[in-house]
């Protein structure tokens, strides 16, 4: 993912700050909004956040780095989280993690070389009777054994890039993004 254009970023940040700064305990809602907008929390947004909420930059950085859910670096096109908590372990998640690491050639907190998939652990998706569970975006999948993971990865990497400019419409490119 490219660094957002600075002017666009400033404009968006102004909007997001206006929308959130008056909430009680505004920092987490604002950080969520920033991450939703840019895919991560660019370090260049920290000064504006700090100033708007009358915090030090260190405090804002401290909050971003405390929570596993906030990213200060862009991740791959897909964020793939595998539940590593006990209930999924009891249903084979350790094997699933090992399989997925080998298949993708990355460890946790890393992104595949083609920028497609970032692999993260997650501790419980509340789907504990039908694990192993994984999360892709806002989708949670259950009973993901290694074969199901292979199908999922194939599906994810086959879909055309969502945010690419569309190719010229000819009869054989009409399928478009899913």
């Amino acid at each position: 993912m490219q660094e957002p254009n600075i002017n666009d970023q400033d404009n968006r940040m102004t909007q997001l700050i206006e929308q959130h700064q008056h909430l009680p305990g505004a920092l987490l809602p604002l950080l969520h909004a920033v991450q939703l907008t840019f895919g991560y929390i660019p370090h260049t947004t920290v000064p504006a956040i700090a100033e708007a909420l009358a915090l030090s930059r260190a405090e804002v950085h401290g909050v971003i780095s405390f929570y596993h859910g906030f990213r200060s670096q862009p991740c791959g096109r897909h964020l793939l989280q595998i539940c590593c908590a006990e209930a999924c372990q009891a249903r084979g998640s350790r094997q699933l993690v090992e399989h997925t690491r080998q298949k993708l050639g990355v460890d946790f907190h890393q992104t595949t070389a083609d920028g497609e998939i970032t692999l993260e652990p997650v501790y419980c998706l509340g789907n504990c009777a039908t694990g192993p569970s994984v999360r892709i975006g806002d989708r949670i999948l259950g009973r993901v054994d290694p074969a199901a993971m292979d199908r999922l990865l194939d599906d994810l990497t086959r879909v055309p890039l969502r945010f690419q400019s569309p190719p010229p419409e000819t009869s054989d490119t009409k399928r478009g993004p899913q």
């Binding site: 987490l28 809602p29 909420l53 405090e59 909050v63 906030f70 009891a90 039908t130």
Partner: protein
């Protein structure tokens, strides 16, 4: 017009419920059938999800687990008439023993109604508790909750009525403070314990009961603002709750003039950001205020000095969701369930390697064995059950010799375990308990807020020591060191994260010692 139900809870969705619903809607249209598709909550019979239900004159019949490929054949064989011929036919839903043998109070509507329909909610007894509460004085509401014997369902089991009374009686005037004069209701919906999903199931399946419970709590203590602190790992619950709050506001169940009474209650959702420690109430309050989720020393109690420095009720989802029943039916009616000082019902969650995982709401006192076998059906893998972790990642691993202990707060504590939030994670005999002990330390290392050294550093050392034990390096000395470390963490940590991480470690050592004394490189399994 026949109602056909396809759940929209996370588990059903994770197993393809949307595809099933889409296919069903398409087939109904193409075949010109007279049927209405309802997206209900889940009954909590997760091994049957996606579970389709169909209204018949004698109650709903169930089919499951259904895939989209099954839909044409199901319709061909008369599913909409409740036909028994298809092999996925499960009979009348209410007659499925797993459900029939439960005592559903808090979950009475879950899976039955359309979670977002206020009409459905009202038609099934919803908002009667709120109507009662609006006619009572604040102290009378607290009396009723106290009479019920309700204890906090998040794990600590503190009497809810006593907590509410403290907040009711606390003066919120704090001169010079920005929120002086205010009190707050905070719902802890950061259900991070592995093996627990009851909060999620309830929020996705019956969000109005939580909203109603929070409004009643507000009336009881004099709070006009509530927050639901929801974990970000629950995107589906977030969607459903957000919509439910919008609808409740539109209908006057939330807002500046509750049911035209002139009373006020505003409700907001705050999302966590993947930090287990924020399930601890004081860390959650810091997070709610926009800070790192660091555990606070108690006292002061949140009831005196909670969110934004003001008197605050912090209750778990299930605690608040039990309140509408108590107000509607009376505290005594709730207290008639249960045993000893554990009154009412507990939603137990059967998770991990069980043939029939799901939600089982029962009066306190049922044994673990009954839950594991009568309800859970033993392991899904078909291998023998070996270890059961009760009460989340900070709960003990119990061997078969402990499975006849009744599930009540005191009896479980006497047996060295805890009921906690009612999560039960079952493992078959392929489990390596040394690895599970290592994971307990690893999890604490990842999730410690860092405030207390025994937790922050102890967990790192704990992983290292267990690794040395597994590798057969100075095993005797390292086992002694591990016990010593557990003692230090237990005695030197402010909250349960560091203080109770020793539970799974020690129980693994005590009950499954063979797993720690294998030759190195032979990890079993």
């Amino acid at each position: 017009m026949i109602n056909v139900y396809v759940p929209r809870d996370t588990t059903a969705l994770s197993l393809g419920a949307d595809a099933v619903a889409d296919c069903l809607a398409r087939e109904i249209q193409q075949r010109g059938l007279s049927a209405r598709l309802v997206r209900n909550g889940s009954r909590g019979l997760f091994w049957l999800e996606p579970l389709i239900e169909v209204d018949t004159s004698r109650g709903r019949v169930a089919y499951g687990p259904v895939t989209q490929d099954d839909i044409p054949a199901l319709l061909d064989q008369g599913m909409l008439e409740g036909s028994e011929s298809h092999h996925l036919y499960q009979g009348y839903t209410e007659a499925i023993p797993y459900l029939q043998n439960q005592q559903r109070l808090t979950f009475s509507r879950v899976g039955i109604t359309d979670p977002l329909s206020i009409t459905d909610y009202r038609n099934h007894g919803g908002f009667r508790g709120l109507e009662q509460a609006l006619g009572l004085k604040a102290a009378q509401i607290v009396d009723e909750v106290e009479r019920s014997g309700l204890r906090g369902r998040g794990g600590a089991a503190f009497p809810a009525g006593r907590k509410w009374r403290t907040v009711l009686e606390t003066d919120p005037e704090r001169p010079g403070q920005p929120w002086s004069g205010r009190k707050f209701i905070v719902c802890n919906a950061d259900e991070g314990d592995s093996g627990t999903f009851a909060d999620r199931l309830l929020m996705e399946g019956d969000p109005y009961v939580l909203i109603e419970g929070m409004v009643i709590a507000g009336l009881a203590v004099g709070a006009e603002t509530g927050f639901i602190y929801l974990r970000s790992e629950y995107p589906n619950a977030h969607r459903i709750l957000t919509e439910a709050i919008t609808r409740a506001e539109a209908e006057g169940y939330l807002g500046s003039n509750l049911l035209s009474s002139g009373r006020i209650f505003h409700l907001y959702i705050r999302l966590g950001a993947e930090a287990y420690i924020c399930g601890e109430e004081t860390a959650m309050l810091d997070s709610l205020e926009g800070k790192r989720g660091m555990v606070r020393a108690k006292p002061p109690l949140p009831a005196h000095h909670g969110a934004f420095g003001q008197p605050t009720v912090v209750n778990n989802v299930l605690t608040l969701a039990a309140v509408p029943y108590i107000l509607a039916e009376g505290g005594q009616s709730y207290a008639d369930f249960g045993m000893g000082r554990s009154r009412g019902t507990q939603p137990f969650q059967l998770a991990g390697n069980l043939a029939r995982g799901g939600l089982v709401e029962l009066a306190f006192g049922v044994t673990l064995r009954s839950l594991l076998y009568d309800f859970g059906g033993g392991t899904e893998s078909g291998r023998p059950l070996r270890a059961v972790q009760v009460g989340g990642p900070l709960g003990a691993y119990l061997p078969e010799s402990h499975w006849d202990t009744p599930m009540d707060y005191e009896a479980m504590a006497d047996a060295g375990g805890m009921v906690g939030h009612g999560g039960i994670v079952a493992f078959d005999d392929s489990v390596d308990m040394a690895q599970q002990a290592r994971f307990a330390m690893e999890f604490c290392r990842v999730e410690s807020c860092g405030k207390c050294t025994p937790c922050r550093i102890g967990a790192v050392r704990g992983v290292e020591v267990i690794d040395r034990i597994i590798a057969d390096q100075d095993r005797t000395d390292n086992l002694a060191l591990l016990q010593d470390l557990c003692h230090t963490m237990e005695m030197g940590s402010l909250c349960a994260m560091g203080g109770m991480t020793p539970n799974p470690v020690r129980s693994a050592l005590q009950f499954f010692p063979d797993d720690f004394t294998r030759p190195a490189g032979n990890e079993g399994g």
